[in-house]
C-alpha cells in the first residue's frame, strides 16, 4: 500500500490525493453499477420463480447477459422530450435523481477501514443526501407536463415527507444507543454486549433491543424506495408509470438506476444500523465484508418478495400507515429506549 502511495505521489505529485480519491470513487461505483444491473436480473428471476415461470433465460446462460442487453437497448433509444415539457428541468430531473443515489455511497463503510470518507456525521450526511432524491421525482413530474406524471410526483412528495419522519425517528433510537453519528462506530458499538460475550454476536446487534424500530425502518425503507406495496408514485395500474411516464431511453434508465441504487443503499444501511454490518453473527467466525453483502442481499430479497406478494396500498392508506401507525410507534419506543438507557438495566 505504501509503495502504491509513493508511486502515486511520484507520478502525480501534489495532485495525488485527488487522483487517489477518484480511483476510490471508481472502485465503489463500478461494483455498485454491476450490482444494481444484476439486481434487476435477480429481481426478474426471483419474482419469476415465485410466479411459477422462469424469468429471462435467452440472453446468455441463465439470462446472465440480460442486464447488459437491457442497458444497451436503453442507451440506443431516443430520448423523447414531450412538446409541452419544460425542456431544461425535464432533462435535469433524472440527473437529480441518480446523483444523490450515488453520492450517498461516499460515506458507506464496508469494514472498519474500507470507507471513502469516514466522516463523523456520516449518518446525517446520508439522511440529507437521500432526501435530495425526491427533487428528481418532483421535477420530473412537474416538467413532463403530463397529468399522470403530475399525480405521481404529488403522491411521491407526500409519501417521502411522511416516511422520512418515521425513518428519522427510528434512526434517532439507533443514535441514542450508539452515541455516534459515524456509521463505523455504530457497527463497532454492536460488536460488544452480553451475548457477544457468549459468542452469539447476532443477539447483540441493534435489531433485538430495537426490534420495533427495526421493523419500522424496514417498512419506511420500502416506502422511501417507492417500491411495492408502497409504489403508489408509479402505481402501474393507476398512474401507468407515475412520474417517469414521459421518459424514454437513458433518461428513463437513470430513474431506474437511481431506484435500484437506492434499494441497495437502504438495504445496506439497514444491515449496518440494525444487523451489525460486517460483524460476524457468531464469535468463532471472523468479521468480513462478506457478512455485510450477505445481510444486504437478504434484505434485498425481502424487497423482491414483498413485490411478488402484496397488493398495493392506496395513497391515503399509505399516509395513514405512516402518520398514524409508524410515527406513534417510533415516539413511544423513543421514550422507552430513553428510560431504558437511564435505568439500571441499561445494556448499552
Amino acid at each position: 500500500m505504501d509503495a502504491l502511495m509513493n508511486l502515486g505521489v511520484g507520478l502525480f505529485g501534489a495532485a495525488w490525493p485527488a487522483v487517489w480519491t477518484l480511483v476510490k470513487i471508481v472502485l465503489i461505483v463500478i461494483p455498485l453499477m454491476l450490482g444494481l444491473a444484476y439486481l434487476t436480473l435477480a429481481e426478474r428471476k426471483v419474482i419469476g420463480f415465485m410466479q411459477v415461470r422462469i424469468g429471462p433465460n435467452r440472453v446468455g446462460p441463465y439470462g446472465l447477459i440480460q442486464p447488459i442487453a437491457d442497458g444497451l437497448k436503453l442507451l440506443f433509444k431516443e430520448i423523447i422530450i414531450p412538446g409541452n415539457a419544460s425542456k431544461g428541468i425535464y432533462l435535469v430531473a433524472p440527473m437529480l435523481s441518480i446523483a444523490p443515489a450515488l453520492a450517498a455511497w461516499a460515506v458507506m463503510p464496508f469494514n472498519d477501514t474500507l470507507v471513502l470518507a469516514n466522516i463523523d456525521a456520516s449518518l446525517l450526511y446520508i439522511m440529507a443526501i437521500t432526501s435530495m432524491g425526491v427533487y428528481g421525482v418532483i421535477l420530473s413530474g412537474w416538467a413532463s407536463n403530463s397529468k399522470y406524471a403530475f399525480l405521481g410526483a404529488m403522491r411521491s412528495t407526500a409519501q417521502m415527507v411522511s416516511y422520512e419522519l418515521a425513518m428519522g425517528f427510528s434512526l434517532i433510537c439507533v443514535l441514542m444507543v450508539s452515541g455516534s453519528l459515524n456509521l463505523v462506530e455504530i457497527v463497532q458499538g454492536q460488536q460488544s454486549g452480553r451475548f457477544a460475550g457468549y459468542g452469539l454476536n447476532f443477539l447483540s446487534w441493534n435489531w433485538l433491543p430495537l426490534l420495533p424500530m427495526f421493523v419500522v425502518y424496514l417498512i419506511a425503507g420500502v416506502a422511501e424506495l417507492n417500491r411495492a406495496p408502497f409504489d403508489v408514485a408509479e402505481g402501474e395500474s393507476e398512474l401507468v408509470a407515475g412520474f417517469h411516464v414521459e421518459y424514454s431511453g437513458m433518461a428513463f434508465a437513470l430513474f431506474f438506476l437511481a431506484e435500484y441504487a437506492n434499494m441497495i443503499l437502504v438495504a445496506m444501511l439497514t444491515s449496518i444500523l440494525f444487523l451489525g454490518g460486517w460483524s460476524s453473527p457468531v464469535g468463532f467466525l471472523p468479521d468480513s465484508i462478506i457478512w455485510l453483502l450477505a445481510k444486504t442481499s437478504c434484505i434485498l430479497f425481502l424487497y423482491l418478495w414483498f413485490r411478488a406478494t402484496f397488493p398495493r396500498y392506496r395513497y391515503d392508506q399509505l399516509m395513514r400507515l405512516g402518520w398514524k401507525v409508524l410515527l406513534p410507534i417510533c415516539l413511544i419506543w423513543l421514550v422507552v429506549v430513553g428510560i431504558w438507557m437511564m435505568s439500571p438495566l441499561n445494556i448499552w
Partner: protein, 417 residues
C-alpha cells in the same frame, strides 16, 4: 384570484387497467373522483348487424367474440334463443355437456377476473397463478372443439359433437425432451372426462392458495372493503345481474330461478354478499368457482354413465350423420340445404337468457321465417354494470376506480359488441 378548476384526467383507452379499451373521463378534485364518465364504442364490431346477414349457424362463432373470456356461455344463450324459436329439445346428454362447459367457462372467466383484479390492485402474482390453472381448462376447450378460445362448440339443437375419448398429447420436440413431455402428459392418459376430473380434484387446493394470498391480506381488504358499495335496491334499479347483484345480497341466479340445460338436476348453492362492496363481490365470485367445480363433478359422473346423442335428431336443424347422408336421399337433401341455406327458423320473437359468469346474458331474436334472423339484440351484463361506474366511483380515489373496474368484471367485447 383564479378560480380552482377540477383536474380532468383521460383514463384510457391506452391504460394498463382499462381492461381493453375503456375510455373514462375522470373529473378529479385532488385524487378524489368527482365524476366518472365512461366512453364506450372503441371495440364496436356491429355483431348485431352482422347477424342479420348471416345464417343462424354462421352467426354463432361471433358469439365467442362478444365476451371473449367466457366463450361457450355466449354461445349457450344464442342457441337457447334459437331453440326456443325452433321449438326443439336438446338431448339430455347435450344438456349435461352444455352445463359442464358453462361451468368450465365460469371458472375460466372467474380465474381471469381474479387474476386481473388482483393485478389492478397491485398483487401481480395472482395473475400468473390463475393462468396456470386456466391452461388446463383451455386444454379442455381445445380437446372438445379444436380451439382454445373461440370454440364454436354449441349448436342450435345441442353441441357439435360428443366428448373426445382421448386428450391431445404433448409431443417431443427440440424444446421439449421426452421426460418433460411425459411429465406434461401425466394426466392426459384417459378421456377428456378423466382429465377434467383430475382438474376438479386439484382445483380446491389452488383455490385455497388464492384465499391464502388475498382473502385475509390486510392490504387487499383495505383496498376492497367499502369500495364501490351498491345497495340491493340500487343494484336492482340499475339492472345489475350476476355477481354484481348477488354481492349486494340479492339471491338472484337464473340457474336457480329459471333453470335451463341441466341446472335443475345438479346440486349447487348460490353465494350472496352482505354489504355490496367490492370485497363481498370478490368473495361471491370466489365461492362461485367452488360451486362450479361441484357442478362439473356431478356432470362428469352423469356423463360417464349415460351415453347418447348430443344433438337433436331433427335434421332440418342439425346435420344428419355422414353415413346416413351417403345412403339416404332425404338426408342428402337435408345436408345440402343445411350447408347451403342454413336453418329456417319459424317467424316469431324469442328471448333467452342464461346466467353468464358476468350476469344475465340474453339474446333476443326476431325471425321472419328466413334463413337468418331479422334482428338480433344482445343483452350484455357488462354494459349494464358499466353504467353504475359513476355512482360507484364518485367520492372514491383514483386507485379505487381501478378496483371498481376490476370488481365489475367488464370485458369490452360484450359491451361494445
Amino acid at each position: 384570484m383564479a378560480d380552482i378548476r377540477n383536474f380532468t384526467l383521460n383514463f384510457g383507452p391506452q391504460h394498463p387497467a382499462a381492461h381493453g379499451v375503456l375510455r373514462m373521463v375522470l373529473e378529479l378534485d385532488g385524487e378524489v373522483v368527482q365524476r366518472a364518465d365512461p366512453h364506450i364504442g372503441l371495440l364496436h364490431r356491429a355483431t348485431e348487424k352482422l347477424a342479420e346477414t348471416r345464417t343462424w349457424v354462421q352467426s354463432l362463432p361471433y358469439m365467442d367474440r362478444l365476451d371473449y373470456v367466457s366463450m361457450m356461455c355466449n354461445e349457450h344463450a344464442y342457441c337457447l334463443a334459437a331453440e326456443k324459436l325452433l321449438g326443439i329439445e336438446v338431448p339430455e346428454r347435450g344438456k349435461y355437456i352444455r352445463t359442464m362447459f358453462d361451468e368450465v367457462t365460469r371458472i375460466l372467466n372467474h380465474l381471469l377476473w381474479i387474476g386481473c383484479h388482483a393485478l389492478d390492485v397491485g398483487a401481480m402474482t395472482m395473475a400468473l397463478y390463475t393462468f396456470r390453472e386456466r391452461e388446463d381448462l383451455m386444454d379442455v376447450y381445445e380437446a372438445v372443439s379444436g380451439a382454445r378460445m373461440h370454440a364454436a362448440y354449441y349448436r342450435p339443437g345441442g353441441v357439435y359433437r360428443d366428448l373426445p375419448d382421448r386428450m391431445p398429447q404433448n409431443r417431443e420436440s427440440p424444446w421439449t425432451d421426452a421426460k418433460k413431455a411425459a411429465y406434461r402428459n401425466r394426466n392426459r392418459g384417459g378421456t377428456l372426462l378423466d382429465f377434467l376430473e383430475d382438474f376438479t380434484n386439484r382445483f380446491p387446493t389452488y383455490h385455497a392458495e388464492y384465499h391464502t394470498l388475498l382473502t385475509d391480506n390486510r392490504i387487499w381488504k383495505q383496498r376492497l372493503v367499502n369500495v364501490g358499495v351498491v345497495s340491493p335496491e340500487r343494484a336492482k334499479q340499475m339492472g345489475f345481474t350476476g355477481a354484481m347483484l348477488r354481492g349486494s345480497g340479492v339471491a338472484w341466479d337464473l340457474r336457480k330461478k329459471q333453470p335451463y340445460a341441466a341446472y335443475d338436476k345438479v346440486d349447487f348453492d348460490v353465494p350472496i354478499g352482505l354489504n355490496g362492496d367490492s370485497y363481498d363481490r370478490y368473495l361471491v365470485r370466489m365461492e362461485e368457482m367452488l360451486q362450479s367445480n361441484r357442478i362439473i363433478k356431478q356432470c362428469i359422473d352423469w356423463l360417464r354413465k349415460n351415453p347418447g346423442p348430443v344433438i337433436t335428431d331433427n335434421h332440418k336443424v342439425a346435420p344428419p350423420p355422414r353415413a346416413n347422408m351417403k345412403s339416404n336421399m332425404e338426408e342428402l337433401i337435408h345436408h345440402f340445404k343445411l350447408f347451403s341455406e342454413g336453418i329456417h327458423v319459424p317467424p316469431g320473437e324469442a328471448y333467452a337468457a342464461i346466467e353468464h359468469p358476468k350476469g344475465e346474458f340474453g339474446i333476443y331474436f326476431i325471425s321472419d321465417g328466413a334463413n337468418k334472423p331479422y334482428r338480433m339484440k344482445i343483452r350484455a351484463p357488462g354494459y349494464v354494470h358499466l353504467q353504475g361506474m359513476d355512482e360507484m366511483a364518485r367520492g372514491h380515489m383514483i386507485a379505487d376506480v381501478v378496483t371498481i373496474i376490476g370488481t365489475q368484471d367488464i370485458v369490452f367485447g360484450e359491451i361494445d359488441r
